[in-house]
């Protein structure tokens, strides 16, 4: 039987991994490659790597032994794909089919897009035709407004005045392969997923929905798997706080009889 997935998300901001709160405040977590290696060793099912830099400066400001400085996202993708042997989704700053091609050829398996489909209506279908639906993930950042849930683009800045479930249906029809559903309100708050948001989208589409935003304890993963139809549960900050985090989260779900891969610690 196909398993539910547990996915760590890492955020890259100008050469450093960061943790994020409410899409506004960021704290430095360190080297963009070494922490990914750890996540791989804890048998994450996949990895989502989001580039939230506002400009093209990826300088790590130092050249360490065995960890040379990196100047661009493509070099970072190459490095990451050499230390992990799991599916990797890269997102952020994707504006063209060439941007996708360059990421895939350096080791990305999927790409995630958020803003460009609002500017170019045919982008999803063109990308799906060229690279296959399986590698086109639509990232939806949702926020509660006075009209209910609304989709925001451009790093949570622009209200698109459409509900996440409607937008997800449009993306599904255009040929998207998966939905990464994030709650701006819950980002970095540790108070659990927005279950209502997850329900609204995962019941509206057949596409796999990946839940993101708000996890502060392992029970939040099980809550989403129990109460909604999501295919994967993802989190960012919580996986950075302790050693073997992904392994321990997986163990919790496995021991509570959720349909996940057996927890494992890998040296690969």
């Amino acid at each position: 039987m196909k398993k539910k997935r547990l996915i760590p998300v890492v955020l890259l901001k100008n050469g450093f991994l960061v943790q994020s709160k409410s899409f506004k405040r960021y704290q430095n977590l360190g080297n963009p490659i070494t922490s990914v290696k750890r996540l791989s060793e804890w048998a994450s099912d996949e990895l989502i790597y989001l580039d939230i830099s506002k400009d093209e400066n990826y300088d790590m400001r130092r050249d360490d032994i065995k960890h040379p400085n990196r100047s661009g996202i493509l070099e970072i993708i190459e490095d990451v794909s050499k230390v992990t042997f799991m599916p990797i989704t890269f997102g952020g700053k994707i504006r063209s089919l060439q941007d996708i091609e360059m990421r895939l050829s350096r080791g990305a398996d999927k790409i995630s897009i958020n803003t460009i489909p609002f500017e170019n209506k045919n982008f999803i279908s063109e990308a799906a035709k060229e690279f296959g639906s399986q590698c086109i993930v639509i990232s939806i950042d949702a926020k509660v407004t006075e009209n209910g849930f609304s989709v925001f683009s451009n790093g949570g800045k622009t209200d698109r005045n459409i509900s996440p479930s409607e937008w997800a249906k449009i993306c599904e029809n255009e040929g998207a392969g998966e939905i990464l559903l994030n709650s701006i309100d819950r980002d970095g708050m540790k108070n659990g997923y927005d279950i209502e948001l997850l329900q609204s989208v995962s019941s509206a589409v057949k596409l796999p929905v990946i839940a993101l935003g708000g996890v502060g304890e392992w029970e939040h993963f099980s809550e989403a798997l129990e109460k909604t139809n999501v295919d994967a549960v993802a989190a960012a900050n919580i996986f950075q706080y302790m050693d073997q985090s992904v392994y321990l989260a997986k163990k919790y779900l496995y021991e509570n009889n959720f349909n996940v891969r057996k927890p494992d610690l890998l040296l690969i």
Binding site: A43, S81, S105, G177, K262, I268
Partner: protein, 205 residues
Amino acid sequence: MKVCILDYGSGNVKSVFNMISTLTEDVTISNNTSDIKNASHLILPGVGAFGASMKKINENIPVDELANEVLNTKKPFLGICVGMQVLAEKGLEFGEHKGFGWINGTVEKLNVPDNLTLPHIGWNDINIKKQNNVLLNHFTDHQDFYFVHSFAVSGTDEEYIVSDTEYGTNFISVVNKENIFGVQFHPEKSQKAGKVLIENFLNIK
């Protein structure tokens, strides 16, 4: 040992190369005849549609020389995902296309119920039909691997089916006929299990 990963412009060549590089330095990505002739092990990676892949294979790989190395010299050959599918006689993705026909069967769309989506993406387990197959050394039944596909080989003779996998329907996930192996999942993305499988393949003499 000399591993040759056949190069025809498939997107995931690099990932396969990265994984094999952790096991041996004697690995090359190539489509030239002498590399194919000098190789001890041949790997055909794949991702995407059957017809498009077959077209690229015919344009970029010396297929007759490859067939000679596989069918006559009997070098161990591993097809991954679409690389497994092209071993069949024909594929029905976007029209009918001819495959290598090294193992009998047809590549058809997975016949899944309405509540399941295609492509079938994610970690799923294999039901082992042939115990003691060399490719599955060290594995117990229901080992998980990572899958991404909408089509699969069907109609293959039972004697060549090493495992199947359930996703709304049962499809063939590993085939083997003599020195020819095919896996529908992606070992290069299946972490430790994938690495063990590749190692098993490279240990075949």
